[in-house]
């Protein structure tokens, strides 16, 4: 395997190509009016590569194929219904073992934090995958800002509950709010980001606007969307899928081709957008990010802590 820690856009998809694609999608006018790129501090995208599978999924693929049960269980439901979600104003409660707890207005919380692009593989536990150009920043920037106390060991996250706007929440598909969590060292790892954008544009609602977690070496359901609460805790926090079915979903949920899920073999995956007859790809340990995160689990039995 060949790792390139600082892949650039140009290494992945010729810029002209994806601009063309974007023009087709949103129309040239939107691009001309945008000037979004100017606000982005770092152009280089951190994409540890394995020599193949670098082709980005299109904006349409990424924004029309979502698991976001707050808007329904169909893959197309979020794109259809998430438009109803109000994302401004947005408040994030940060509490627990932090020096400066409080209800933070999102703009205040993120002021002065520069965004950068991160091109990550995204691997769903359902054994499909994409390659996604996120815009965001490292979660540790926010955690540093609020001051994590020494006794904190975990970070818990919660998604908004607003059934008036999130029609999937009118049914008890899951025990709302959606909850996720990370160990503190996982949360502080430079690969762990808060994404606020996609393809240089604000995050579409169906992808978890206005802010979501992205943890590229874990199955997609760990990357919780539309976050309204971040809590630093001493104990491992409850997480939604683990609560729903503890035999199937563990707290760690690291991408691991050797540890099977009761429903889906995790040895291979289908890359969305590859076409009807595309071959399955072998799934990589830690989704290909082992060089960056393998140390976090040194000495742990990953079959036990799945």
């Amino acid at each position: 395997m060949r790792f390139k820690p600082d892949m650039k856009w140009s290494d992945v998809t010729p810029k002209a190509d994806f601009l063309n694609r974007r023009q087709l999608i949103s129309g040239a006018a939107a691009l001309a009016a945008g000037g979004v790129a100017g606000q982005i501090a770092a152009r280089e995208a951190w994409h540890p590569a394995d020599g193949e599978g670098l082709e980005l999924n299109s904006f349409e693929d990424i924004s029309n194929y979502n698991n976001f049960y707050e808007f329904g269980t169909g893959k197309g439901d979020p794109a259809q219904y998430a438009g109803a979600l109000t994302t401004k104003p947005w408040t994030v409660k940060i509490d627990g073992m932090v020096d400066r707890p409080g209800d933070y207005d999102l703009d205040d919380l993120l002021s002065g934090i520069a965004t950068e692009e991160r091109i990550y593989r995204f691997r769903c536990v359902e054994a499909w995958s994409m390659v996604i150009p996120w815009t965001g920043f490292e979660l540790n920037r926010v955690l540093d800002r609020v001051g994590v106390q020494p006794s904190a060991r975990y970070v818990a996250f919660e998604t908004l509950v607003r059934p008036e706007e999130m029609i999937g929440q009118r049914r008890n598909t899951l025990d709302w709010p959606y909850r996720e969590g990370l160990r503190l060292d996982e949360a502080m790892n430079p690969l762990t980001i808060i994404a606020t954008g996609l393809y240089d544009e604000p995050l579409p609602n169906q992808n978890g606007a206005p802010l979501r977690l992205v943890v590229p070496w874990k199955y997609g359901f760990k990357s919780i969307k539309s976050i309204v609460r971040i809590t630093l805790t001493e104990d491992e926090p409850p997480t939604s899928w683990n609560m729903q079915n503890p035999g199937e979903y563990g707290f760690y949920s690291n991408v691991n081709p050797e540890v099977d899920h009761p429903r889906w073999s995790q040895a291979t995956e289908r890359r969305i957008g590859d076409g009807l007859f595309a071959r399955r790809r072998p799934t990589l340990m830690f989704n290909g990010y082992g060089d960056y995160v393998g140390d976090l689990y040194a000495g742990m039995d990953l079959a036990e802590f799945y």
């Binding site: 349409e60 693929d61 029309n64 194929y65 049960y69 269980t73 893959k75 197309g76 499909w128 049914r171 008890n172 598909t173 899951l174 899928w241 729903q244 079915n245 099977d260 009761p262 429903r263 889906w264 073999s265 040895a267 291979t268 289908r270 969305i272 957008g273 009807l276 007859f277 071959r279 399955r280």
Partner: protein, 214 residues
């Protein structure tokens, strides 16, 4: 129009027309498959739609008898076509899984069938359907004999139940739709039990009253 007139009309509907109408959803799926109508992940969409339509045909087949008992409408002539169409869609569902989804990775396929209960159950339902599909013709009916044939085809009840359980298990979280399917199937099966139990009870009661008369 009363049930008798409707039945006369239904009897005149030729078998080929039922098969043709039943194949239309398949044709529509193929058209959508090659025109981008199945969305971002056409493989999964196709797989799920075929399974769903298959289950709908099987439920329709299961409804023929209760429909006749409750309303007098007789679709018995077309039940074979309905059942075979159900088999066809379930088989297509299986083929899409094998070829396009899991792509004939036999190691993974066997592991899935043995280790994943929803796939085990789905496979079992399919295997049980095979003898029913093979014997769904007049020659087989004559060779086996009507009574034995009918007994064999009671496997349908198990097949449809297993199909619905497969659906309930394949979805994540608590979703309503598969439970609606399961509920309809259980209701249709209960209707049969109830009618037959009532019949037996009636026969018993009548027998006893005759005895008293004697």
């Amino acid at each position: 129009m009363n049930a008798n007139m409707l039945n006369t009309a239904l009897r005149k509907v030729p078998g080929w027309l039922v098969y043709t109408l039943g194949a239309l959803p398949f044709a529509w799926l193929v058209v959508q498959l090659f025109t981008g109508g199945l969305g971002v992940d056409p493989v999964k969409a196709l797989e799920h739609r075929l399974g769903e339509i298959g289950l709908q045909f099987l439920i329709a087949g299961l409804a023929v008898t209760p429909l006749r008992r409750l309303t007098g409408v007789n679709l018995l002539k077309h039940r074979r076509a309905i059942g075979l169409l159900g088999f066809f869609y379930v088989f297509a569902h299986l083929l899409v899984w094998l070829v396009l989804d899991i792509q004939l990775l036999w190691g993974q396929i066997w592991a899935d069938i043995l280790k994943r209960p929803y796939i085990t159950i789905g496979m079992l339902a399919f295997v049980l359907m095979v003898p029913l599909a093979i014997t769904s013709n007049n020659a087989s009916l004559r060779r086996i004999g009507a009574a034995a044939w009918r007994r064999l085809h009671r496997l349908t009840y198990a097949v449809v139940l297993l199909g619905a359980v497969h659906f309930v298990m394949v979805v994540k979280g608590w979703q309503v739709e598969p439970f609606i399917y399961l509920g309809i199937i259980v209701a249709l099966l209960l209707l049969r039990i109830r009618v037959s139990v009532l019949k037996q009870a009636w026969v018993r009661v009548r027998g006893e009253s005759r005895k008293r008369v004697i």
